[in-house]
């Protein structure tokens, strides 16, 4: 795992999207972190991001099929996870709805991910 820098990429119509990549950005800001946890996450189609192109350790937590999270579909969060490189992302699917699952076994899986960075 290299030194990671998050940066913001300007897009048309003053819209923004946060990237978590190694590549140099056009507008770099001092935002630095080692991992990202994305709960019920989704990616807006504001900019082109290739699949498997984001090299940042990530934990994706979202509702399992079918329709366990009525606000953000399983497919949508899975698409966000697919933007991250294989091998650096971990997926936890749960049946608790549109929340961060606060119980076992999910909480233990979250701890397992975090232990890598301690």
């Amino acid at each position: 795992m290299g030194h990671l820098t998050g940066y913001w990429d300007f897009h048309e119509e003053q819209r923004w999207l946060l990237y978590f990549v190694h590549r140099k950005g056009r507008l770099k800001v001092d935002i630095d972190f080692r991992f990202a946890i994305l709960c019920a996450g989704f990616a807006l189609p504001l900019a082109e991001i290739n699949r498997r192109s984001i090299n940042c350790p990530s934990l994706h937590i979202f509702g399992s099929v079918p329709g366990k999270d009525r606000q953000i579909e399983n497919k949508t969060s899975r698409e966000l996870a697919s933007l991250f490189e294989d091998g650096c992302s971990v997926i936890i699917e749960h049946d608790c709805g549109h929340i961060i699952p606060p119980r076992s076994p999910y909480i233990d899986e979250i701890k397992g991910f975090l232990q890598r960075f301690l």
Partner: protein, 182 residues
């Protein structure tokens, strides 16, 4: 014990030495235990600092309360919650009786809504282009029913976030990780 040993000087001397030695060893053992526990206690626990960003129509205290992650991950993380920048209109879901009849004397949701002066704002990182923010200062019913695909229309609001996040990172950082909800 001294009375029993009074007739034997040798036995008395032996026992005295035995007791003194025993006490000395006990004290050494006690101090060693204390020092080792002090060393373990003095070592600051290593915790991961995680910046937490709440979801739509929420705020930092609300996310801290509902996520309940700090308790579940106690000892390994330090969670720092920050507010999003965009304030949303105050809306409420009417109670069933309001939908069924228009009688003014019937039970009304308005009776249970907190004061808009003391109510903490509901915030968002991204908003719809036609969002007017908290221009209306009082509670109101939603214009349309809940739309599960609403998030797809929330496409503006990034323009003020980079400088804000930069400030958060410089003032409250460094962070080991970030956590975003929805």
């Amino acid at each position: 014990m001294l009375v029993l040993c009074a007739n034997s000087e040798h036995l008395s001397l032996f026992l005295s030495c035995y007791i003194v030695t025993f006490c000395f060893l006990l004290r050494e053992l006690w101090s060693e235990c204390n020092s080792s526990s002090n060393k373990a206690g003095a070592r600051p626990p290593i915790k991961l600092r995680i910046l937490c960003m709440h979801g739509f129509r929420q705020n930092a205290p609300g996310f801290r309360r509902t996520a309940s992650l700090a308790k579940k991950l106690k000892g390994i993380v330090e969670l720092i919650f920050v507010d999003a920048l965009h304030e949303l209109p105050l809306i409420y879901l009417p109670v069933f009786s309001e939908l069924e009849c228009s009688d003014e004397s019937s039970l009304s949701s308005q009776q249970f809504l907190p004061s808009t002066e003391t109510c903490r704002g509901k915030l968002a990182r991204l908003i719809a282009p036609d969002c007017k923010g908290r221009s209306v200062t009082d509670w109101k019913k939603p214009d349309s029913p809940f739309d599960p695909l609403r998030y797809q229309q929330q496409t503006v609001g990034f323009n003020v976030s980079p400088s804000y996040l930069k400030t958060v990172f410089s003032q409250d950082g460094p962070f080991d990780g970030i956590l975003g909800f929805s």
